[in-house]
Amino acid sequence: MTVNSIRTPPVGLSMLTDKRLHRRISIIVFSILFIVLAWELAARFLVRDETLLPGPFSVWNHFTYLLTTSEKVGIQNDIWASTARVLVGWAIGIAIGVPVGAALATNEVLRIGADPLLQAGRSVPPLAFAPLMVVWLGLGEPSKYVLIALGVMPIIAINVSAAIGGIDRSLLRVTSTMGASPFYRLRRVIIPAILADLFTSMRVTLGLAWATVIAAELVASTAGLGYRILKASQYMDTNTIFAGILAIGLLALIGDRVLLVLQKVLVPWRGVG
């Protein structure tokens, strides 16, 4: 009866994690420094034209100015417009994609029938639907929501379906001898079992949602970061273009990190990368 062979992380292990964290942070800091330096050197000695390639510090100053100045001049409203579109469209895509994925996993006819459609739908860039959405839904918000959801939904559905199909058979077999109702089984076994995969596909599709919204705003819009970048290019305002790109990158990064933290908190049993 030796029960002392438990694998609790001893003190040494948490120290190791600390070490790893430090290593990670220093790599990130150095890579950012490297990019900033290369950019600055290229701007100063290679291009030597502020209107073509402003340096990183000039862009950063302009970016902070656009964030802090009056809303009429700044990009606050554009950030809000794009973020809202991303969140609503992405949420709709997930809300439809999860049940569709579950239906695909449980119904073979549906799976075989819908698979080509989903695979094709996944491969068509959402932007290809943009003109159609403008014709159908106009320039307003719904066309953006639908466009993003169209891109997100098939990826979520395919991944959820694969995740359900990939649940450990032993786990399901044992569960089947436990007298659980279908609902109890869904809530306590199926959903937790696919949570890690769901998070991964949510992270992938959040990036896609950003890419889609910017493209859609470039095509037809009256607000948003894509619209702002397009307008700035018409005035040769490269500083604002770069500031817009920076804003998109930062917003997408923040979203991804939030999901990553949530994933680590909610799915601690699965190694996350």
């Binding site: 029960v3 438990i6 450990d168 032993s170 077999r173 044992v174 001898t177 436990m178 007298g179 659980a180």
Partner: protein, 272 residues
């Protein structure tokens, strides 16, 4: 509710054995591609009996267990569990697999309580689970994460989880097959001890002759495919047994008999 059904079946029929396998065939595939895995299997497992199923690799011992569990359906014949025809998995037949198959999103005690909560017995779940965890030597580990436990401990949790629903039959499919030799021996004596306390009905699939002999009242030796049951060996070693019975002459003789039976005296192949 469960106890009432239990009572009725027991009074209704004088002797309703926990498991009756009658003329069971199992084939995979159809027509000319059909492959017979089990042929004319007849077996009655009595109340409180520990029966092992052994046989050469590919003889269908796991398939037979899966049929009894209700994971698969028979091609012909019938399996009954306490008088009721087996058509699908049920709480009557608890199973422990080679993988512990614990729910990693639940801690140790939540795993053990799963079946009780799922069947609406949540009120008594905690004391029952605590008692079981004590029995399997895991008192104090209630709140541990299951994926932080060693393989042997995970198996103990898995066994406790299955016992929590007091199944009429405990099915075990090579439960210790993936453990290292030392943990395996430890788990065998643990199970022996546990079973001698509970005397539950167990059907145990294994390819380990020593394991089968140590634990069982009877060992069913299956042949390959159409061959059916080669022989059912009574293990007359008196109980309570301890791990050191493996050193007695009686045990060694039985082991030789079984080994010959499993490998097939004429075929001259290893039982693996």
């Amino acid at each position: 509710m469960q106890t009432r059904i239990d009572f009725e079946t027991r009074t209704g029929q004088q002797v309703s054995n926990p498991v009756t396998v009658s003329a069971v065939n199992k084939e995979y595939g159809k027509g000319s591609h059909a492959a017979t895995v089990l042929n004319d299997i007849n077996l009655t497992v009595r109340e409180g009996e520990f029966v092992s199923i052994m046989g050469p690799s590919g003889c269908g011992k796991t398939t037979l267990l899966q049929l009894i569990a209700g994971f698969e359906t028979v091609s012909s014949g019938a399996i009954e569990c306490v008088g009721a025809r087996v058509t699908k998995p049920s709480v009557d037949r608890g199973i422990v697999l080679q993988k512990p198959a614990l729910y990693p999103w639940m801690n140790v005690i939540e795993n053990v309580m799963f079946g009780l909560k799922a069947t609406g017995q949540g009120k008594n779940a905690r004391p029952i689970a605590e008692r079981l965890l004590q029995e399997v030597g895991l008192k104090g580990y209630e709140r541990h994460k299951v994926y932080e436990l060693s393989g042997g401990m995970q198996h103990r949790v898995s066994i406790a989880r299955t016992l929590a629903l007091s199944p009429k039959v405990l099915l075990m499919d090579e439960p210790f097959g993936a453990l290292d030799a030392q943990t395996r021996a430890e788990m065998q004596s643990f199970l022996l001890e546990l079973w001698q306390q509970h005397r539950s009905t167990v059907i145990f699939v294994t390819h380990d002759i020593e394991e089968g002999l140590l634990l069982s009242d009877r060992v069913v030796v299956l042949g390959k495919g159409t061959e059916g049951i080669r022989e059912i060996v009574e293990v007359g070693i008196p109980r309570p047994r301890r791990y050191d019975v493996t050193l007695t002459q009686e045990f060694i003789d039985l082991r030789r008999t079984l080994k010959n039976l499993i490998t097939g005296k004429n075929q001259n192949q290893t039982g693996d």
